[in-house]
Assembly symmetry: C2
Homo-oligomer: 416 residues x 2
């Protein structure tokens, strides 16, 4: 089932928004075995949109559009589609009632009711998060699915309605596993997997560089999910055998989730002391629902005064080694754990830039400190690259990864 994704909106062509809808739909379609052969984006222009339909349906069995379903004059997708297929628009009473309910207590703008007009004979997908219903036209062996543009309307509509509709038309699945890797670069990952990448057929193997990490995505095509997983497993196992310490997790699992789960499993509690990352390490841990049983406290001690007052870092240590040093990183990690009465303390101190770098301590230099009760405090030195935001993001990930890698090792604290 060859599919094209056609995103409609002048804001896309002006670069005012990034086309996240096309990425979302592609990912989801791959998951249900629908092969996307092209993305096209056109503006809110009658003639160009009509041409785009014609162009897409030359090859595609299915065209999925997003955008242009609203009630304003810019919203032309529905009208152009009706014209393209030679269908009249008619009132869809259920959608009209839904809109009226949605506006209960507020004045119903006349324009909004136009949302309830759909091409005759179309299948309607209800919009649980907005006014414009989704519309599916089947005609002459072709399928056109029109979804609203706002992601919080489009995504649930696709997942709850359009996906099931399409699933009924396919005979096979794509299943993916994404192995998430931190601590080595994309080139090094590729080099170590080169023979597998060269020999790939099914599953396919694709490495992607992200800020601070590399993802390797394996995608298998099979008749059903079990068969797809059977194809994926041996390849994933082989990659684990080569990169295991650097693979922190898979798919949607975040590094912070892994770390929180490890701390929970080991009955540890953690406190964080941050300089250059300025709260990002704490914020990442707090992004995990239920973190409160292990995350006790975070200290953003950007100034030396705060490092001294809050973390009991000695002024002479700061004087002798400077705030960006392994000695201060260690003292910060210890100080955070002690102040918060946590069993684990993790710290960051570095030069985030753009200013403040020197020859011996350049922008991007970051030290991470790790205190674990009952063990010797350890530190790591990283030379990160990128602008201020990237240095801080990479440092945050490296700090969490340092904790992930060192928590399970020898000399576990006695209470474990």
């Amino acid at each position: 089932m060859i599919t094209e994704i056609l995103t409609v909106g002048t804001e896309i062509l002006l670069g005012n928004i990034v086309n996240a809808n096309a990425a979302f739909l592609s990912r989801e379609l791959a998951g249900i075995g629908v092969s996307v052969f092209r993305h096209t984006s056109v503006g809110d222009n009658h003639k160009r949109l009509k041409n785009a339909f014609a162009n897409a349906f030359e090859k595609a069995d299915v065209v999925i559009t997003t955008g242009g379903l609203g009630p304003t004059q810019d919203d032309i997708t529905k009208g152009v589609a009706a014209e393209y297929f030679g269908l009249e628009l008619e009132m869809h009473e259920e959608s009209r009632q839904r809109i009226i309910t949605r506006f209960a207590g507020r004045t119903l703008p006349e324009s909004v009711e136009r949302n309830a007009l759909v091409p005759q004979g179309a299948t309607v997908f209800p919009n649980e998060n907005g006014s414009a219903p989704g519309i599916c036209i089947e005609s002459g062996g072709k399928i056109l699915i029109m979804l609203p543009g706002p992601p919080h309307e489009m995504q649930p509509m696709f997942l709850n309605h359009a996906a099931a509709f399409l699933r009924g038309k396919t005979d096979g699945v794509f299943v993916s596993r994404t192995l998430k890797i931190i601590g080595i670069g994309e080139t090094a990952v590729e080099t170590r997997l080169q023979d597998l990448i060269d020999a790939q057929t099914n599953p396919t193997i694709a490495p992607y560089a992200k800020v601070g990490e590399v993802h390797v995505r394996l995608t298998a095509s099979a008749l059903n999910e079990t068969a797809a997983h059977d194809l994926l497993s041996p390849v994933a196992d082989e990659i684990y055998s080569r990169l295991s310490p650097q693979i922190y997790g898979e798919d949607e699992t975040s590094l912070a989730e892994i770390v929180i789960a490890m701390l929970k499993a080991k009955n540890q509690t953690v406190a964080v002391a941050e300089s250059c990352t300025g709260g990002l390490v704490s914020a990442d841990l707090v992004s995990v629902a239920g973190c409160s049983s292990v995350f006790l406290e975070g200290f953003t001690t950007y100034s030396n005064e705060a490092k001294i007052a809050r973390l009991s870092v000695s002024p002479s240590l700061l004087e002798t080694h400077g705030a960006v040093s392994p000695e201060v990183a260690a003292a910060m990690a210890e100080g955070a754990a002690k102040a918060a009465n946590a069993t684990v303390g993790i710290s960051t101190t570095g030069i985030a830039g753009p200013d403040g770098g020197t020859e011996s301590k350049p922008v991007g230099l970051v030290y991470v400190g790790l205190f674990i009760a009952g063990r010797e405090t350890i530190t790591a030195k990283f030379n990160t690259i990128g602008n201020r935001a990237e240095v801080r993001c990479r440092s945050t990930m490296l700090a969490l990864d340092f904790l992930r890698r060192n928590l399970p090792l020898d000399n576990p604290p006695t209470e474990c």
Copy 2:
């Protein structure tokens, strides 16, 4: 000069990456008066890419590609383009030397040298951040510009080389101003600007909903920048007259930058106490280079114990009102300022979800506290929407905005 952006890469069609390159190029092209009429994305497939060239050049004078310039078998853009235009590939010695220099001290993989092959007669854009040079082919009144896929290579190459090349071919500019609004939703913004939006011609007026804020982008087309700004000013002024308190800044300026600049201008220092945001408010302030003169310290006090120990919040206050209450928000803000010896304290406490909500304190409820030396401590209550990440992001922005709005008002502290 009609332009199409053609992004090449199977990872785009699989949804593994969001097509940020197309958005970046569109935005930059608009800025130099180049009109983008379509985006197309195709996979790493010889026949489809060649068709895409043919298809694009039916309408477009200029086609700009990203991706597929690397040295591996997946990288086919250069070869297909040479074939499309009937050109041979030949070694570009300057690019070859650049690659050799780049790999100085490391073994030069044979494949990498293939990066230095370019179609005969092409203009070459040097790659300051990678191995693959950019390539520009002019033939029969058509222009093909091929840029590498990784954004950190593509963006500087476009800005430093391709933009100048294209600027020499256009006669007019698009200039945009984006007004950034916080505290009212997209629908309310649209309603208040409806007459302007209905009457728009030049500049165009386009509102966009973002998480926690709304952007209104004005775009004027004119012969030169001055003329464009003259078209933009009266419309922007009118929007300011309607929405002024909610407009926190324009274009690339972040809310945190505005807040830091205001604190600096008023000789204030700030400390942050966070519960549900978990470090995001501090991290946002630290994202601003040079924040250290005003940002003293952040306390991520997720637990009640930390609120008591670090911020001197009284246990009875927590007992009586609960951690998520205006009383505790106020005590946190005061406690943070006092502990850090700052003139301003800002706090957040809320229910980030997905669990922990009750009927009287639902998920999304957030209190922000603001202490400013010499004034009465104030608090604000917000009912934010979205998942845990969105609630935390919105809360962070609302806290910074609460500080932005209240810092300049009456009763300035005596030292101002």
